[in-house]
Every structure is written in C-alpha cells, then in structure tokens.
Symmetry: D2
Subunit: 343 residues, 4 copies
C-alpha cells in the first residue's frame, strides 16, 4: 500500500504533526509506503511527488508549517486535473490512496473526486478558524487562540498605562471562534464577530462603560466582522477604495471610529499571519497526531470519501458529504454567554 | 441572593478564572452578592469569610493560583463541621448557597452535605490529572500538559546533544492523562502510566530500540506508574525507606535502572509543582470561565447536589452522585494509539 | 525623606519593576517614603499624587505597564508647570526629590528643571528603541526583541509553507536596534533600519537571492526606515496622504513593492503595540530592578541632574547633560556584521 | 581554508547558533570550508569528522542543543590525543584550524594544544553558569535565567494558594549567577549561592519574616550552595550516603530543614536539565551568532590561542591564557544589592 499525502490551503499549526502521525502509524502498523504531493493539489495535477520516509517526519510534531508546501490550486483545474487524469497519475506512480489535509474547498473537491471518479481519497479537516461543523475542534485553532490571547495580555498592560482603547483584529473570515475564545480568555470588553453585526454606537457604548469603570477598553474583532447598518458599510466600502483591505482592514477602521465617538485615544493592532505560523500548542499536537493516525486506519478500512473528526474526546470517521456545506457558526448561546463580560 | 465560593485541594491553573467567571456572571446577570470562604472547607468550618466584589476579580482570568487559598480540610471535621453547623453558619452570614470548586473529595463531601443536611451546594470539578469521569476535560489539565510538553521539547535537544536517555516525571497519581498527552505532543519514546504497568525489561527494550535508530530516548512517566512485577515493586519499596517518595520518586528510580540495563547514560527530571502554578492556557481560561458562569446559573436554577461539566463543547449540569466514584482512566484504545510511537 | 516617582512617555516593559525596585530599596535601606505622580509629568503639574507603600509594589517585577500611568505632558507646560510652581508643589506635599522614569524628552526636561530651578530630580532612562547613548541597554528593549523574534519564528514557518515573502515591521523610529537584534536572532534575510537607507532594487535583489536558494524570504523593517532615493520617498509620501502612518506604514508599503518587482507573493505584518506591553523578560526585570534600586541610592547621594545607566554589567550614575542629545545609532560595524546574513 | 568546529562539555542553548554564525560568516565572507568534529574532542582524537555545508546550518539559530554532539573527552587523552597526533590528523584531513566551543576545561586544553604543539585553535567560551571571568555574559546563561524565572513565576502562585514555602534549585555549581538573576527577576525572598554560605538559621529567619508579612516564601538555591557550619555540612554529607547527589540534592535537603525549623510546609523543585535545553532566548541567539562570526574573523587573523568574548556590547578577542583560571564569582556588591529583597 502506498499513500500520497497533500496539504492544501492556508497554513495552520499542526499540519506537520498530521503528516508525522500518518507516516509513523502507516510505517509501523501497516508497513505502508508514503509519498507527498508538493504544494497541495498542484502537486497532484503537476505530478510533483516526493517520497516520505520515517526519518523525514522526525521532530515534526512541534514544527509549524508543512514540509509538503501548500497552494490554493483546485484538483479539477489544469492539464493534470480531473478524476480521470488523477487516477492515471496515481496508477503511474503506484499510489493507492490520497490523504487530503485541507479546508472546506479541499474536502469538497476530495469528495467530488471520489464521487465522480472513484478516486480513493480521505480527508483531514484543516481550518484555523474552526468553521467546519463536522468536528468539535480542528487543529491549529487552539494555537491561534493562544497566540491571540497572549497578544491581548500584552495589549492590556499598555492600554492601562496610557488609558487607551485597544482594538485587536484576529482571524475569522466567516465565523468568530478565535475572537470569541481569545476575547473570553483575555478578558476583552467587546468581542465583534461576523455572526453578530453591531452598530458603532453599541461598540462605543461598551467602550465608554469600561472607561467609566476606570479601565482601559479592549476590543477583539474578527476580520470578517461587519457593521449592522448601511452608513458604516458605506464608510467601510469607501475606505476600500484606498486599498484598505490589504492593510488588515476592520480594526484599523474601527479604532478611529471609536476614538471619534468616545474621545478615548484608540489604537488598532492586526495580528495577521503570526496566528498561522510556528509551534502548535500541545493540544493541537495531540489532536493533529491523532487525526493523522486515524486517517491511515480509515485508508486501510477503505472509508473513501470520508474524513476524520474530533467528537468529544474521540476521533471518528464521517462522510465528507455530510460534513461540509454547513458553517460552524458561533451559536447565539455562546455569544450571549460571552456578552455578560462586555462593557 | 448571596453565594459563598470555596476552592479546595491541590492548586490548579484556572481556579481564579472560575471565581472571576462566577462573580461577573452573578453580579451582572443576577445582581448576586459573593463571599469567599478562605482556604477551602477550612473557611467554612472556621467561618473565615471575606467579601468578593467585582473589582476583586479584575484581571483574574490569567492569574494562576486561587485568591481564596486552599486546604485539604474536610467539611465534616472540626467544630464547625457537619451539615447542621454549616447551615447555621450560612444562616448567620446570610449565605444562600455554596459553590465548591474541588476534586473528588470535595465533590463527594458537597453531595453528602446536600444529601444529609440539605445544604445548598453545587460543585465545579477541579482535577489537574483529569481523573474525573463526568467531564471531558477539567481546567488546569491543558496547562499542565502544555508545561510538560515544553519541558519535553527542552529535554529533547539536550538529550540529543549528549546521546542520553531522559526520564521526565509528570503528575498523575491514579491516571496517566498528562503523561499520555504531553508524551504524544512531545514525541516521547515511551509513556508510562498507572493504568499500564510495565516491566523494566520492556522499558529497556523501547529505550534500546530508540538508541539503535540513532536517537536519544525520551521517557515520560506519570508519578503513579508502577512496575508490573514483584522484584521492581520490592526495589521500589526499598528505596522508600530512605524517604524517596518525598524526592519525586519514580523517575529517579527508573533512570538508573534504565542505565544499568542498557548502558545508556540516563537522567531523571521531576517537573513537580511547576505544573500546578502560573498562567492557565487560553483553553483553560475559557473552560474555567464558562464553568464559573454556568455554576451560577445552576445555583439560580436550584440544581443542588449537582456539578457543572464539559461535554464536547457544551457545559452541562450533572448529578454529583452520578459523576463521582468512577476514575477517568486512560482507556486501552488511547494507550494503544500512543504505543505506536514507542520504541 | 519622601520621593515622588513618575513614569513618562510610551509604555515599556519594566516600568513597574523600576518602581518596585525603588520602593523596596528606599523602604528597606533608607526608610524612605514614596508617592507617585499619576500619568507622568501631568501628575506633577496637576498635583495628582498617590501614596505608594511596600504592599503596592508586590508582584510588580513581572507586571507590564506602569501602575502610575503615563502621558506625554511636558513639565514646563500648563498652570502648574515650570520649576517654580513645581518646587511649590513639592514643598506643599513634603516631597524631597523626584525620580523621573522616561525617555530623552523627560530626561532633558528633568535636567532643565534642575538647572533652572534647582529641582531635585534624578532620571531613569526608558527607551524601548534603545536609542539613548548613555546606557548599554535600556529595560524593555530585550523584551521587545524577544517578542519580535518570536513573531519572526512564527512567520518563517508560514512563509515556507506558501513560498511567500514576509515583511515584519518592528519598532524603531530613529534607530534600528530592535530590527537588528530580532532580525539576527530570527534569521532574517534583510534588515532595514533608519540608519541605513536602501533602494527597493537592493531589497528586491536580496529577496530574489533568497528565493533562488529555495527559501521563503523574511524581511524585518524598523518603522523609521526610509528609502534612499526620491522616487520611493515620493511614493511613500503619496500614500501618507491617505493617512497611512496611522496604519503602521512602512511594511505595508514595502511588501507590495517587493511583490511587484520580484513576483514573489509578499505579506506585511505590523507588530505594533504588542511590543510595548506585557511581562518583561528576566533580563529586563533584573535591569529595571537594579536601575530602580540604584536611583534611590543616587537620591540619597544627592546626585541631582544625573541619571542611572548600565555599563557592561555595572549600574552607574552619569550626568543627564552628558547623556542626552546623542542618539544611540546602530554603528556601521554592527550593520556590516548582520549584513553577512542578508540575501 | 578549512575550519574544524567542535562543541564540548555540557549542553547549552546557543551552541547551534554559534555553529551557524561561523559557517555563514566563513562561507560568505571568506569562502571557507567547514567540517565538524563529532562529540567534542572525542571527534578530534577519534578522527570522527563530518562536513558542514551552508544548508546544514539552516534554521539553527533557534534550535537548542548541538548538531555536532558533545562529550567530556579531553584532547590529551586516548590514542589520537596530544598535540602531535592531532596535528597529523588535521594535516591528513586538510584542516587548517580548530574552533573549540567549550568551557574552562576546553579552553585550557585548547590553549595547551597551541602552546605545546602549535595547534591553530581559537576558543568560544561556553558556560551556562556564566562562570568565566573573561566575558560579560556567555550564551545560554540568559536562556537558563529566563527558564528559571518562568518556573519561579509558576511556583509563586501555587505557593500563595497553599501558604507553602517553595525551594527552587537552579544550576550553578561554583557560582550563583543563575540563582541571583532569576531570583531578582522572580522576586525570590532568599537567594542561596555558592559564594555566600548561610546558616539554616538565617534561611529560616528570612522565611519566617516573609510568612509574617502574609506571603508564601520563595527560596532560590544554586546547586553548589553550601551551609556555613559543620552541623549542616555533616547532615548534608550523611544524606549523600543514600545517593542524594544524583537526586538533585540541595533543594531537597533544605526544604525539610526549613519546614522543621519554621513549621511552614515546604516543597523542593529541582529544575535540572530543562535549563540546558531548547530554544535560546533572542539575547542568546544574537550573542551566540556574533561570537560564531567573530571567531571566524579571529581565525583569519591568525589569533591562535585566543578566544572571543563579550565586553559591554562589543565582541572582543582575548588571550585564553589571560581569560581562564579566574572564576567569575558573584561579587559581594551584587549579592548585597539583591539581599535588600530578602526576607
């Protein structure tokens, strides 16, 4: 048995731990051979393949990034793309199955490759934003929350020294889990997430209430947060014309709006790529290792078209078809829970 | 409504976050008043009570330890102990309910106080070892695993430089969760836990196999690990006579045994109290905050004799009677999963 | 003897450790009394004074920020400003001497207060950028370098995964010490500092050379870096019109310029206020504590108009007049040393 | 020109950064070739030599340990030892010079090889204890202090929760620098170092004084600390008979002595090998990199028999003969400075 592994989409702490978990499990338990497709699906469609032996995964549990590289290539694109061409490439290289580590796009594509062409592929969910509904948590999320929380801890003391309002922008394009968890952990006074549009008036009210209690306000905002009325949306759009989205965006928009409304000196910090890189937390290393091991079992069980997930403390296998399509949004109850701490 | 909070038993990162979560939730949502019993049940039986206002919990989410102090006092002991005396004390101080944050002993005592005397008490499970079956994880555990993992990361490089075998002892008197998770996260070559007695011959075999692959062996051992035969048990017992248990124990016993059998220079490190103190991880801060908030809801729901727990990603309320009594052991499947990585 | 302490200017890890060092030294060795002026010189001119007793500084060595607050107020401004009014205020409050912890502006003002009005003031240099020539290192600098280095470590893995060029902007308005040290520590492929203007062509050449060696380029840039020719200066200036300086600036300008010239996808990260806050490193805690203790000795020696500094491993006292006025620039030799690692 | 590098003696964070600094500097500035002697002087006497190319040092600045391995072998021992045999080996392998990274023993041996046999060798001082007088600081020391300080921070909260006295043993066989700096940074209430013997009565007095102020006492002790009278020496010696030195030693001796005298529950923690391993701090990475680069300059200058050192912020070259032989003890003034904080 020879398995080809690929990592696709945005970087995420724990990718290397998944690769290591798979390779060790396969080599030791099943005498499986491994190759890697370089740079995600691009390595599949371009037949860019490297062998992976046990020695290659040494020390990888703690190493951020992915030794295989990543890209946003789609397996249905390009000359080598589509199920037929991919099956030919697999046959040519004696590869029996693909383990695809990636987000919703990758998992959907993997399922389509199986449905349309019988490609033997199994997925490992990767979403630093924690936006996949099929798994309680995905690896990388805990690390991102920890990094964001440490940033909040640092911002807090400097906010207090100057009596400033600090606005920290964290990842979360469609869902606000990183903002919610880091905000709760760091003691934020307002948490702004895509699922819960707010008006600048409401935000200013929270900020002023904090100031009135003698504290320096700290606001955590997910990159995908949007205001709940047209005026702000327009003003946001206006700034886009000056190419703001490339500059990190929402925090740098909100901070001056808070300052204007409250008179409290306000500063924006955009964490950005720091959240995606570096050593995974122990939690993520364990989760990623277990997922990596479990997917090899799933391969040997022939569970094609499925993916491995975390449920409670168990690793389970679910159909990709059932798993993707639904965004794992922050439910109202979790936002209400956190909201107690606002203002 | 006035709630009295206590923290009991060994220190655990996140205790202060629970207190903060409860006080903020109670003050803001229910206009509840709070007092603290100092040093666990001792504060109850000795009527050592301090008021807790909102300002007192400021910044506590990230602070290790417990502002209330702790002890191993039993509420049934002493002059002020027992349900009747405690109820009198509560009445005298206008306290309506007790929130007891503690381990199996505390939870059992809490339940007995409710069963035997109708004391209105609700528990929050605290076990850094993660040995309570009623909750997926308990706060403090993730922090302990993270600290142990960082220690393994550090030991690994120095082990490699000298070609030594390193034996790291972590907490875990009855269950091996901290050893299992930190060992998986850190890439240990053997994980020794109370649930899985091993012979020194087996351990030496793993160590030699690692050495034969050109690596420096790393062994993680839970403090409660025991050998599986009499000879070692005896030798262990013998060393006890020289007061070894106070010296950390098992790692310092195993390291020279490994060295003797394999000829590989071996060194023991006992992490000890470092695992119990300091800042909780973001994971533990969120969990502890949520438990602290939920227990106040449970108080207002009158769920006496119950405790709050984590199930998947949800905080639930369960009867203490159902929850305690069963140790949350590392199941065979989880040990087998990790064992792939041994040797 | 009663000493009034103030902290002035931008936040810096170690301010609280200086306060603690002074208060403990004064209370224990000299039986000195302490008060704090709130928010820097503003507390002096507005007579906003709080007592500081031993208990207030408990645990402060590790705490970021300043319990006294800070501001950019000038002691010569406002109704209570100027040497005469300040002396009256000191007399009115029985304060014998001022310990002023601040940067070049504060130290210069302190000296002027002494020269023009005989105000008994001694300075403690505070510059996170390490731009004061009179001291080998100033507290806070080591912490900022450590934080920037950890950010580089994280960016590196994600850069490698995607084959991207990462541009990290760190503090350093007039001097490039933080960029130089964190760049060396993190293995940056180009370090851009105010002392060494470069052309975008040179930067692109370094970046391409790195790419050609198969690595993901990592550029560290100090916020005060400037291009060495007019074209870039103009383009930089043009962007300023859209209020860029408030958005972090230079990294977000350079990244797209690199991408345009090299075709390598490039991303900017601006560390910002995170560098100023949070726990100081052990190095900074020791340095700040020693400076805080030494300044109390200097007060008791009557060394008015002087400041305490680090020279090698010794804390010394030097005249402020001799100490300020010269910027501690990165010398050519140190840049040449680091430049070996570029490209 | 071909340089052979070796790392000798106990592990120390920054060894790899020195190797990387040397190789990059040599390859880029001088077109130098490099080989490594494996496991310190053992690789020299056993002619165990590996090539080192630029690619081998990639990412090494942040990696603990030494890729060359280490040992405590003496270059005058063994069949291949002594200046004559070593010169033959160097000639045989076309090696022009040796860069020896090690402590006092290594540096002394290096000097003797040069003096007695004209071996072209230059030293880089390595002492995690900071016990070499010729350099302000040696790499690894800052990392050890940081690790010890973080341990103190963690122990403090758990000490406070239980009202316990914590005794932390850190490295420092002959000098107390790690204890002094981490103790000052962490706010220890007593710092016990080899240079300053104390009686158990004095220690107990400090501990009781802390308790009387309502705090949990924290004692930091260097492994080489000794009591100042015979009684304790005897008791210490007695315990040795039960093989205590292998168990960490002094902290585990002192804790029960404190408990016996003061009645305060006391616990020992021995940090041990954790201080030697893992990622160096940014400070140590910069220092190690600069020393590594400077030693290559010294080789090209033919400064045989010398070593590179840190003086203030400068890297200098000094004669080994002048540099070794004097222990860098904690001076009385530095102990007095810290002592203010005791009790």
């Amino acid at each position: 048995m020879k398995i080809g592994i690929l990592t696709s989409g945005g970087d995420c702490p724990g990718l290397n731990a998944v690769i290591r978990g798979s390779v060790l499990k396969g080599v030791i338990s099943y005498d499986t051979e491994f190759v890697g497709f370089r740079n995600g699906w691009r390595g599949v469609v371009e037949e860019d393949i490297v062998p992976i032996v046990r020695h290659d995964v040494r020390g990888l549990a703690k190493q951020g990034g992915t030794i295989l590289g990543s890209s946003r290539t789609n397996p249905f694109e390009g000359e080598g793309g589509g199920p037929e061409k991919i099956q030919e490439m697999l046959d040519r290289n004696g590869i029996d199955a693909i383990v695809a580590i990636g987000g919703e796009g990758t998992l959907t594509a993997a399922r389509r490759l199986y449905d349309e062409g019988g490609i033997k592929v199994i997925g490992v969910p990767k979403t630093i934003d924690n936006d996949l509904a099929a798994t309680d948590y995905s690896f990388g999320f805990d690390t991102a929350v920890q990094i964001a929380t440490e940033a909040i801890d640092r911002l807090r003391t400097t906010a207090d020294s100057h009596g400033r309002c600090m606005v920290l922008e964290v990842m979360g394009r469609h869902v606000g889990w990183i903002a919610l968890h880091s905000g709760m952990a760091g003691g934020a006074h307002a948490i702004l997430i895509p699922e819960q549009p707010q008006s600048i008036e409401q935000i200013a009210e929270w900020v002023e209430s904090v100031r009135d209690r003698g504290r320096a306000p700290l606001v955590v905002v997910a990159e995908g947060f949007k205001f709940d009325d047209m005026a702000e949306a327009h003003s946001h759009k206006g700034l886009d014309a000056f190419n703001r989205p490339r500059l990190g965006g929402i925090a740098e928009l909100i901070a001056p709006m808070i300052e204007e409304r409250t008179g409290i000196e306000s500063r924006a910090t955009v964490l950005g790529h720091i959240q995606r890189g570096g050593e995974p937390t122990a939690f993520d290393r364990v989760l990623a290792t277990r997922l990596g091991m479990a997917v090899v079992d799933a391969v040997h069980d022939g569970a094609w078209g499925s993916m491995v997930t975390l449920r409670g403390t168990d690793i389970e296998t679910v159909s990709i078809a059932d798993a993707v399509g639904t965004l794992n949004r922050v439910p109202q109850s979790r936002y209400d829970e956190a909201k107690i701490l606002f203002g």
